[in-house]
Amino acid sequence: MRGLLSHVGGITWLFFRAARYAVPLRLESREFSRILLHFGVKSLPLVLLTAVITGALMVLQTGAVVELMGATSMVGWASGVAVLREVGPVLIGVMFSGQVGSFNAAELGLMKITEQVEALSGLGVDPVRFLVFPRMLAMMLMLAVLTVYGDLFALIGGSIVSWGMFDLDPWVFWQQVLLPHPVDDLLEGVLKAVFFGLNISVVSCYFGLQVERDPWEVGVAVNRSVVTSAMGLFVIDYLFALARAGA
């Protein structure tokens, strides 16, 4: 328990140290664009594929329940809300953390082992400014964009299943998704994704930089990074739900 608290403290502290470079903005653009391209493109196919599956699953379940309540025509509405606002961002966040967060933790851990981080500070370069801050911004942006695409793919998956399983015309499905207030739902999902991205980036940077010298520790860092960011994801999601209830 004490270990957990000290990690949470360390993660918060790392966040504040990195956030200092936001105002005034001091961004290492070379590293920022590299991360964006390298991590973002890499994670796209698998995230989208899982998004399609997620959409299918959501329709299977919500569809069945709505059907039980006797309103097949509501399938699109129900799954639209579920995907855009709730399940989409969370599951895409989990996959993103598994793919990009863990890769990031491993990369930084490796840089620690090969003394690259120490060499950086030896050259008067602040690792937090050079490594952590660009990653933080990049992952927030990346996850927001991925969530928009992921939502789209999830709804495509959903419309296919509701067509095949519930005989619901895709046209009707999409009308239902788009009719109520999809923009609000989408925006809320994207805002959530930005926070998820912040969570994943700071957590994975923190555990990556915790590595000292043993290769074995890199595996531990990846593990802790994924586990902790998943926890963080649910906590953030919960806070959002609370905030909406309050509003």
Partner: protein, 249 residues
């Protein structure tokens, strides 16, 4: 000028440095040697603020390193750059970008000025042909040279090289040692070499600081005769045994 007094460092109950005294003048070249695990790297790291000594004092150009804040240490470490045993280059940056990194980060000048500087360090380290290559495409010896060039880009007063020739074959090790000697002479760098490369120590060292049992033996190597080496300041002949060669005089 680097002056260490009464330096002490222990890990648990393992005393690695025990009241070590060492003084290195500006522009001097010193080898730090010792058996594996005897703490020559620890001494190097304590001297230049990568590790905090338990007791004693290290003054670099009059500035007290033990107990200094990280920010102050940073400033000193930019003028005495530590070159790690592994090349520590950024895999995703080309050689040129690696060398330009500190210059661009510290906004030292216009882009043209940065590139002119990079030219100079590439030339000095003899790695100009690798300019656009990525570190993983370079032979190990060239990677080490690039990491030296990167250290030079800050125009430091001194270099500390941690086992620069470990992992290199004989010819490359000798060439790298010659490069370090040449840079030392040309740029008047204070140079500390942490090493157990016996042939090169015998070939090039004039002053050797040996760590053994936490203590430091400060010895001078002379080459009076055509064959053999004279070692002064080694009453217990520890260094002589380490180098596998008895004193001539």
């Amino acid at each position: 000028m680097i002056v260490a007094q009464g330096l002490r460092k222990a890990y648990g109950d393992n005393l690695v440095l025990d009241s070590v005294e060492l003084s290195i003048a500006d522009g001097e070249l010193v080898y730090l040697v010792g058996q594996s695990g005897e703490g020559k790297t620890v001494l190097g790291r304590c001297l230049f603020g990568l590790e905090r000594a338990d007791a004693g004092s290290v003054r670099i150009d009059g500035f007290e390193m033990v107990g200094a804040t990280p920010r102050e240490l940073h400033r000193v470490r930019m003028s005495y750059v530590y070159v790690f045993q592994h090349p520590t280059l950024f895999d995703s940056f080309t050689v040129e970008e690696n060398i330009a990194l500190p210059l661009r980060y510290h906004r030292t000048g216009s882009e043209a000025a940065v590139l002119r500087q990079v030219d100079r360090w590439l030339e000095l380290a003899g790695v100009t042909p690798y300019r656009r290559a990525y570190p993983s495409e370079l032979p190990f010896g060239a990677q080490k040279k690039v990491s030296i060039a990167r250290a030079l880009s800050l125009q430091p007063k001194g270099l500390i090289l941690d086992e620069p020739t470990t992992g290199l074959d004989r010819a490359t090790a000798d060439a790298l040692t010659d490069l370090v000697l040449q840079l030392h002479a040309e740029l008047k760098l204070t140079t500390v070499l942490i090493s157990h490369d016996r042939p090169n120590i015998l070939r090039t060292a004039s002053r050797v600081a040996l760590i053994t049992g936490g203590r430091l033996v400060d010895a001078r190597l002379g080459r009076p005769a055509a064959e053999g080496i004279a070692i002064e300041g080694d009453p217990d002949r520890i260094l002589a045994r380490f180098l596998g060669q008895g004193p001539v005089a």
